[in-house]
């Protein structure tokens, strides 16, 4: 009982700390109400800008508004230019994760996928997704999206109570009356929504590509993840590992294609990560 209370307090303190830090950052940068298609500060020195072909639309189909200064980059381009000062270090962990995937994760996931049919694996996926509700809920509340947070809550209650504890995603087809945007949020995305930049690109062993901002977010998410509180710690790790294997078993081939198709896989993954995260911030 006592430890539970303490961990709750720790979660609360960390969330408050994170929000305070990011709010401070939020006041200095532009708010999220700016049009997403428009890069705010002109980064003139970049050589990609010298390229003459100007796109009409950004990655989501919004028309790129060009101010007098002749801005040619989308916000996504700006996010993709996040500094990578630790490239050598990051490349080392990228290589490590790559080996980890091909030598450990993939064979295990393939074996698991061969024994367990797809449908039960989808149930497991639903269960863990449902369990991550606190991360999404807190993030949506911190982003000031009460509608989306309410929808997430009703999905959680519905799936937990009537979907066999979350194994069945019975609320997947129930659409809210008003469009609410994506509810797949975490704290890293929340800081991004507040206006915090990526800081720098980072690759972590086991966790994969990240950024300074997303690393802080991940630390916060850790405390909002119920599985983190399983006692003793190795059962917590094992549960997370199982979730990971289950996810990988449904995604085999994605990383392979990206790696096969690229001439520099490290750069390809970095660009994809930064652009994908940018999109998720604005979804």
């Amino acid at each position: 009982m006592h430890t539970q209370f303490r961990s709750l307090l720790a979660t609360l303190a960390l969330t408050l700390f994170c929000s305070a830090a990011a709010l401070a950052a939020g006041t200095t940068t532009a708010g999220p109400t700016e049009p997403a298609s428009l890069a705010q500060q002109p980064v003139v020195t970049n050589m990609l800008l010298a390229y003459g072909d100007v796109d009409i639309w950004d990655e989501t189909g919004q028309i790129i508004k060009r101010p007098a200064s002749g801005e040619k980059m989308t916000m996504s381009d700006l996010a993709a230019q996040t500094a990578d000062p630790l490239e050598g270090w990051n490349r080392m962990w990228f290589g490590f994760n790559d080996k980890l995937y091909f030598w450990a994760l993939k064979p295990v996931a393939q074996g698991y996928g061969a024994v367990i049919p797809e449908r039960p694996r989808l149930w497991v996926h639903n269960f863990f997704h449902n369990l991550m509700f606190p991360v999404r809920f807190v993030s949506l509340v911190l982003q000031g999206k009460p509608d989306a947070a309410a929808v997430e809550t009703s999905r959680f209650i519905g799936n937990t109570a009537f979907g066999l504890g979350g194994f069945a995603d019975i609320t997947a087809d129930s659409k809210p009356y008003k469009p609410i945007g994506s509810t797949e949020k975490d704290l890293g995305l929340t800081f991004g929504y507040w206006g915090a930049g990526n800081g720098m690109y980072l690759v972590w062993p086991f966790l994969g590509p990240s950024s300074a901002r997303d690393t802080v977010g991940y630390a916060g998410d850790y405390f909002l993840t119920p599985v983190s509180y399983i006692h003793p710690w190795y059962w917590s790790i094992a549960t997370k590992g199982y979730d990971k294997i289950n996810e990988v078993s449904m995604r085999i081939g994605d990383y392979e294609t990206l790696k096969d198709a690229s001439v520099d896989p490290y750069e390809a993954v970095r660009d994809a990560y930064l652009r994908n995260r940018f999109k998720k911030v604005n979804d």
Partner: protein, 208 residues
Amino acid sequence: MMKKISLFLGTLILTVALCSTALAGEPQDRLKTGIDSVIAILSNSALKGPAKRAERQAKLRTVADSFFDWHELSRRAAAEHWAKFSPKQQDDFVVSFSELLQKTYIRKLEKYNNEKVTYLKEQTEGDKAFINTQVSMKDKTIPINYYMIKHEQWMVYDVVVEGVSLVKNYRVQFAKILSKDSPESLIQRIKDKIKFLDEGKNVDDVAS
């Protein structure tokens, strides 16, 4: 009288609403034709199985060639370095780059499992078009957007999957290589990669 007008208006609105779905513009129709023929090949039972792989992939390539503007796509991926390529190198680059893309992404398409494609929005401006689509999979939907350009026909020159532009993803990789090496060595690197994939010793080697 009032009733007649409202009946007429109602009919009009209904007709317009029904027609608007059919009234997709030229670029979207063209894109849909392409995607439909890919799906037709992939779900054709006469072409299923590993024995028919070569035939199936050849068919998919023909479709891809007639819907993708490889030249425009390669030029944009090389971006400002394009001018450094000699005309022969440019042709070489287009051929090898499109070969790499087809080789890897057709393999990926082969995993098609009756996913539904929804066309969400179409925008046209001059000879350019942007189309938002969505692919519904078992546990999630993936947004896929297409940039198209019109020469004789509307052709795709960039694909954006979950916010990641194909052309821009390669632009970073190519820019990094071309800032140190010549276009010739980039082309050689792409050719090496293709050879590597052909020999089947692809992904398990760490290439960081």
